[in-house]
């Protein structure tokens, strides 16, 4: 049995991710929604109406469907691929194509690709076409079956970000199947973890999933570093950034001396625009003759307030000095923060967000 007594309420206008090991019935569950698989018992209600109440092809045209390898029609141009469902719905050719052009722009495809054939596009571009085709008739529901599994990690990240952006604009009810828990946690509003045999193990928002997995199966499935991954849900806005241990590359001797005891063992040197150059011990800095080549690398800085505590911690761990560099939106140094301070912020965030474990009540 692929799916057994699964009961799930999928919230409107949000992304619900079905995730689980292979053979857990996640794809079967998705395909039951548009009746590509008919359930042997039970019902699927869409806005309270049994999905079997309307003809199957009418139901399917009201839902976008995106599959793993995009499944584009190789004999049709990109624009005609996207126009498929509008044409099925009886729109005129011109209106369908105008709509298709609109969607190419929406999913970030260059208009020059309209007359190309699928084989001329990269895997990532093909998948964008797949998403555009699913959105063409503006369906309220979007079903996505491992849509990004077949592309490389860099392209996948781009597609995920793009999906989140499109979702912000369009607010569809998306059901998304993946076997990748990181993808689930990244894009899901709600995540349903299924176990083999099609049983629901846990249905929760991603942050809750990471903080309190329902059982050993879910915990195991989430992987070893779920604590670290959970930090992606905490903003770095609450960090106390120190601005004192920062000197510009053209600093005077007094400035360097004044900042030497600013509370950090190292000073961050920036260029005249305020962009970080690297770290140095204060006594190795000589006014007017700061040698950029002798500075310690500052690693990848994080964008203060915008990126998460996970990014901040990562910066601190990677930094040779143990201090993370925060920058503003333009890449200018906004402050520095120690591993210790980040650790304090993490503890604080945990206390704010998690109710005490049940055993302690």
């Amino acid at each position: 049995m692929a799916v057994d007594r699964l009961s799930l309420e999928i919230p409107d206008r949000s992304i619900t991710v079905l995730v689980g090991p292979s053979g857990c019935g996640k794809t079967t569950t998705l395909r039951m929604i548009n009746r590509m698989v008919e359930p042997s018992e039970g019902t699927i209600l869409i806005d309270g109406v049994d999905s079997r109440r309307q003809p199957v092809n009418i139901l399917r045209r009201s839902m976008g469907y995106v599959i793993q390898n995009a499944g584009l029609f190789q004999h049709r141009t990109i624009i005609d691929n996207i126009a498929t469902v509008p044409r099925l719905l009886g729109w005129s050719k011109d209106k369908s194509r105008a709509r298709a052009r609109e969607l190419m722009e929406r999913v970030g495809l260059d208009a020059s690709l309209a007359k190309r054939y699928p084989y001329q596009l990269s895997g990532g571009q093909q998948q964008r076409v797949g998403v555009a085709r699913a959105l063409a008739a503006d369906p309220p529901v979007l079903l996505m079956d491992e849509p990004f599994s077949a592309v490389d990690p860099v392209v996948r990240k781009g597609l995920q970000d793009e999906l989140l952006r499109i979702q912000e604009e369009l607010g569809k009810t998306i059901v998304f199947v993946t076997h990748d828990i990181d993808e689930a946690v990244k894009i899901g509003t709600m995540v349903a973890v299924l176990r083999t045999g099609g049983r629901l193990a846990q249905f929760a928002p991603p942050a809750e999933l990471l903080s309190s997995p329902a059982d050993a199966f879910v915990e195991d499935f989430l992987g070893a570093d779920r604590g670290i991954r959970r930090l992606s849900f905490f903003s770095s806005a609450g960090l106390d950034l120190l601005t004192a241990p920062i000197v510009a590359v053209d600093a005077t001797a007094q400035q360097i001396a004044a900042r030497a005891d600013a509370g950090a063992p190292y000073l961050l040197v920036t260029d005249v625009d305020g962009k970080p150059l690297g770290w140095s011990e204060p006594d190795r800095l000589t006014a007017g003759r700061i040698d950029r080549g002798r500075l310690l690398s500052h690693g990848r800085p994080f964008v203060a307030g915008q990126e998460s505590l996970r990014a901040a911690l990562d910066c601190a761990v990677l930094s040779p000095t143990g201090w993370a560099v925060a920058v503003d939106g333009e890449g200018r140094a906004a402050g520095v923060v120690s591993q210790q301070a980040i650790g304090d912020a993490i503890r604080g965030a945990h206390e704010d967000s998690v109710s005490p474990p049940k055993a302690l009540r």
Binding site: N34, M36, V56, N57, I58, L59, R60, R61, Y65, I67, Q68, N69, A70, G71, L72, F73, Q74, H75, R76, T77, T84, V85, L88, Y117, P118, Y119, Q120, G130, R133, A134, L143
Partner: protein, 222 residues
């Protein structure tokens, strides 16, 4: 060389270019038999191949029938049919169609089976009806192979339609059979080279059809 002399003599003889035994008449007769047999064979082989291929069932039965049909000797069938039915078009058409159906049937079935399943799944998920999936998704993708099957059937018919002359009909076979009886080898070689030329022309025609009918997206990605 002897044979080349035969050919040039045959074609330069103006008597061979006119009348009921002239090259234009025999060519158009031959073409007529070929088109008729191909049309019948396609009318049987294409729908059966498309439908069985689409549903993926009956492949074993098909290959059994096709193998059996291939095992039938065309000439034997012609003689048998003529004895059963008498002289006429029908006893010629039956062996020609029997010859042409198997390649059409089998390649069409295989072509449909080899279509990438993911666009078909996508089409179904988007709410396309089965007929539309067959005609607008699977057929365009399978078309190069299907045309290949029709092409080999057509070439087999062109070369085999010469047997029509055995049962008093026309076509290019007339030259070969009459030439053999009359020991007029110029005529035999002339008829044979016309038949070969027509087979090559058939190849060219199918090449052109493929150019026009197959989407560039399929041609390049296949």
């Amino acid at each position: 060389m002897n044979v080349l002399n035969f050919v040039s003599d045959f074609f330069s003889d103006s008597a061979h270019w006119q009348g009921y035994d002239g090259i234009p008449t025999r060519l158009s007769e031959h073409l007529g038999y070929t088109l008729e047999a191909l049309a019948f064979a396609a009318a049987i082989g294409l729908p059966v191949g498309l439908i069985t291929g689409h549903y993926g069932r009956g492949g074993n039965a098909l290959s059994l029938i096709a193998t059996a049909a291939r095992a039938l000797p065309t000439f034997g069938l012609l003689v048998l049919m003529t004895m059963l039915i008498g002289f006429g078009m029908l006893p010629v058409m039956i062996p020609l169609v029997t010859l042409a159906v198997p390649p059409i049937l089998i390649t069409t079935y295989e072509a449909m089976r080899s279509v990438d399943p993911s666009p078909v799944d996508a089409a179904r998920g988007m709410g396309m009806a089965e007929t539309r999936i067959l005609l607008q998704v699977e057929l365009p993708a399978a078309l190069p192979l299907i045309l290949g099957g029709l092409r080999s059937a057509a070439i087999q018919i062109v070369s085999t339609a010469t047997i029509a002359a055995y049962v008093s009909l026309g076509g290019l076979g007339r030259y070969i059979i009459d030439g053999l009886y009359q020991r007029d080898y110029e005529k035999v070689v002339g008829g044979a080279s016309l038949t070969a030329g027509m087979a090559l022309a058939t190849l060219a025609v199918f090449w052109a059809i493929t150019k026009v009918a197959v989407s560039p997206g399929v041609r390049r990605s296949a």
